[in-house]
Symmetry: C3
Subunit: 421 residues, 3 copies
């Protein structure tokens, strides 16, 4: 939450100094490697646009009173607005003004990255009271050759097979979308660095769409090693968990997240893939079709504050952020802990009682919880079923099955198999 409060005021966009400043702050927490890619670089069907930086923007009355001022809220400016200095009546200004008639007290968030334009966003309440003018319109911005900036952390594991986490860093002062994703990803990367992971982990902090396209274009050789991944966004609101499946729908990550959420205390929803949303659109384009889903609390576009000034720090709950992080740690625990075993005593059950793994007095009504986990692991330890599949068939959480497998392995009852995920 402290990290989010620190970076909330910065005016980020898909390029510019706001992104650089944000990445520099994240670097205090994790060893971000920062890339700068020149404007004009071709990335697949796209071209990296000019860099946009803005210093000031306002609409003022003839007496100099500022009606709308970027200094007050950086959502007031349509992102990528070109420089303007002009006097005009309301009639001429009006097409450049954006508001939310249904939410008259909120400022909308608008962009015009690839079509040169300018504009202001303001509350509908203010807009509807504006006199005819004239107004001075002033935007002090640069739209010039520069760079697109993004950050990444690679935490190498025993295998080059890689788990990708990706979050977009291009939104200005919007809290849930997506400072929540940025903060949770930062803390998760911090956590993974404390493990000696089996898989390698890559965390991307990138501008939406053009950022993921740029990373993909510059790292096509690495794409084939991505075995699972998640786009992280909207992770701080009070809602339950939402998982949007990968395009494949039955990838390992889809099964893992569904399992973890099914055994979580918080309500959840699984949504099928649709080719709209965040950077999963690019990762799941047909030429890549990566096994990458999207983890959210309230889904983008489905909560009223989405893409408006109401998506501010008041919308976030530190409990929600902490819970989102805990869910992600559990997801990683499954990714890291899943395995396939062969029972060393596949014919009949091994005698667990002799090894202290079974109640001594028989005839009681029910096997204990742990005892069932032991029996499930042994029964499915045929070199075919993974522990996750065992947990699913047993209806038990992965952690219980993993613990049972550990106990059985310690008693020399299981042989590990190579897991080919």
């Amino acid at each position: 939450m402290a990290l989010i409060e620190r970076i909330f005021p910065i005016c980020r966009s898909i390029t510019g100094n706001g992104v650089r400043e944000t990445l520099a702050i994240l670097r205090n927490h994790i060893p971000l490697e920062i890339s700068e890619v020149p404007s004009g670089t071709k990335v697949f069907d796209w071209t990296i646009p000019p860099e946009w930086n803005i210093r000031a923007a306002y609409i003022a009355r003839p007496d100099g009173t500022r009606v709308v001022d970027f200094a007050v809220n950086n959502l007031h400016i349509v992102q990528y607005s070109r420089a303007v200095d002009a006097i005009m009546p309301l009639a001429e200004l009006r097409p450049h003004l954006h508001s939310l008639p249904d939410q008259p007290d909120w400022i909308p968030y608008r962009t015009s990255y690839y079509s040169e334009n300018w504009g202001f966003c303001l509350t509908h309440r203010l807009l509807s009271t504006l006199p005819d003018g004239p107004y001075r319109v002033f935007i002090d911005s640069d739209l010039a050759p520069g760079h697109l900036s993004y950050g990444e952390v690679l935490i190498p594991g025993k295998s080059d097979d890689t788990i990708l986490f990706s979050c977009h860093i291009c939104h200005p002062s919007l809290a849930n979308d997506n400072l929540s994703g940025i903060a949770v990803a930062t803390m998760l990367a911090h956590h993974v660095r404390t493990l000696r992971p089996r898989y390698s982990y890559r965390f991307l902090f990138i501008p939406g769409t053009i950022g993921s396209l740029t990373w993909l274009a510059r790292n096509e050789d690495k794409v084939g090693r991505i075995v699972s991944g998640l786009v992280l966004s909207n992770l701080g609101d009070a809602g339950g968990m939402t998982y949007k499946q990968s395009r494949r729908g039955d990838a390992a990550i889809d099964r893992i997240v569904a399992h973890v959420l099914r055994h979580d205390e918080v309500p959840h929803r699984i949504m099928p893939f649709v080719p709209y949303g965040y950077d999963e659109r690019q990762y799941c384009s047909p030429g890549f079709d990566l096994p990458i889903g999207c983890l959210m609390r309230s889904p983008s576009g489905e909560y009223p504050e989405y893409h408006s000034s109401a998506d501010n720090l008041f919308l976030l709950h530190s409990d929600s952020l902490a819970h989102s992080l805990a869910v992600l740690k559990r997801i990683i625990a499954v990714i890291e802990g899943d395995a396939v075993y062969c029972s060393r005593n596949p014919k009949g059950e091994p005698q667990l009682g002799r090894r202290g793994l079974y109640g001594a007095i028989g005839g009681q009504r029910t096997a204990g919880y742990d005892q069932m986990a032991l029996l499930w692991v042994l029964n499915l330890a045929d070199g075919q079923n993974s522990l996750l599949e065992t947990a699913e068939r047993a209806g038990l959480p992965f952690s219980t099955i993993r613990a049972a497998a550990d106990a059985l392995a310690a008693a020399d009852l299981l042989d590990p198999m190579l897991l080919d995920r």
Copy 2:
């Protein structure tokens, strides 16, 4: 409706002049080719029966008053009744009389094609008031070597792969079963002739069972080119749509009809195949197992008027006939319009905005309807998914997806693949 009114009074059966007269009238609308197959011809396990023609039939009192008269309603005679001229008491006549005790004002429809017999059908109300007799029974009919008649239209397409539509023409004055099917098939053939279709289309107007068996036996070389088909019947009543699946249950036609009905405004029902009903019984026999289903409104046997004099012109609605025809045109639009594409920009999304296919100002809450269709087509344009599969996954009507594919192809973003259906 005018066509149905014209052919309603004719006494059709599985052979005879009533069938010829009906086919001659249909020939005014579509270029029917008419076949005549001699009685005694073997068709698989069956033999084409003698031709039946009837001129008059009645039951009269001694004073000449006609109690039951074929001239009043051709349902009064059991089809294929042999000639009779005899005087008998009610006790002797009674086993030859058929009525519907549950529907005392309706005349049932009965046949005895393959077992020589005679009989009359009458209302139960009349039957229950008949005095003991005697009665003069008079049937002036021929049951003699002749021909079985049927009609067909072939509309050649670019491919010899053929779509088959089949309707039975053997019922006398029954409107929904099956003048409705005959009329809709005629109008549909008329429509297909206005297309330059990809597939070839064959329309069969045949007597039930023996007619489809005869066509199959004489055209075994053509059967392998039938890639989809529908039996058409009961298409004029006020009920919703009913689709009875092919024996395969997952043939292209099963998926296509289910898709069209799901996006139709009228309620519908999908029924699994059962080996009872109309000529799909023959088309779906194990030696052929053709991908042919049956499209109806109220299914045969499930509406009270079925196979009785109450299945008359009052049961039909011109709106229902028109809607049935519209659904069939939509089915043909899917058959003709389905295709598989490869995106020319499979890595990431192509930049739609640059091509005028995407809104210029970003940040708004929802993508438009058409925009989602564009994204779905691009996302699934991997050479694996057909447009129908894309429409199903997107939950959008085929026509919307087809239109999106046209827009993308026009923007040079798609390569067509050969569709191997």
Copy 3:
């Protein structure tokens, strides 16, 4: 019921003279072959334990009054209790006493086969009134090298492919669990001996766990011929039927039992496999993975009287026993009667009317029940679908489909195929 009443009083355990006495009584009904396997024999991960025989056991007051006496109810002794003759206060005795606080009038059933111990079971009502003592504790039992006893019957069929029925005989005076299973298995074996079966049938009467392990270890060469099987237990109570699937979940036996229960008049439940329960745990261990499920009425552990003195003769209903036997006979009728046919007239329907298999007067609303069965058999007689699959698709009981196939085969319309189950 008479058999159950006869063997109810005997004190059985996993070894000992009670088992021998029980098998000797069963031998009056079926030609049991009895095996005796020495204590100390290794069976997979297990060792056959010493043989246990008990003559007397009681807890007495100083004046000789017996507070708890094995002679009154053989559940009073913890099975495999070693010999004891000692005087002790309640405090010392207490850890050796077992009761059911929730069911204060019932004596629990407890065992300690593989951990040397001793103990008594008694009602909670009695336990809670016991004064401090002292008590004389007397157990006159042997725990010494001997044998494990089990019985089996093999009824050879035309094929060596074998159907296995297994029931546990190790419980003392418990009626539903499992004198019901023993009695039903005995009567079923009796029935199978009256057939000339296609398959071979093996019935096992064995002590739980160690008995099935012993049989498996001594008959590994025969295990591969087991094509279906059922563990039989809890078959006499008033509940509906319960089928616990094999580990595979989709084995032939799973489909057959589900079909028979679906068309049975008694409510039923299908439970997925879990690695807990009866000897299916051993048969379905990963090294064997046999297609063996478990047929019960009320499942083990789910009725209150389970594993207590309330599971006595009053819990059983002769109607339930008879119905369980009838269901098993129907299961065997499917196993024996299933077959795959090819229609001799696969192109179109054969003309059933000519062969007297179809109603003569057409046009009636519905085909008769039997007529639908004939059409289903013919339609699916393509060498691919078994009669069971035909019955499932038709929604008709197997017996109806089997009868239809017999009628069609008699009319020379079907060729049998080799059934490869």
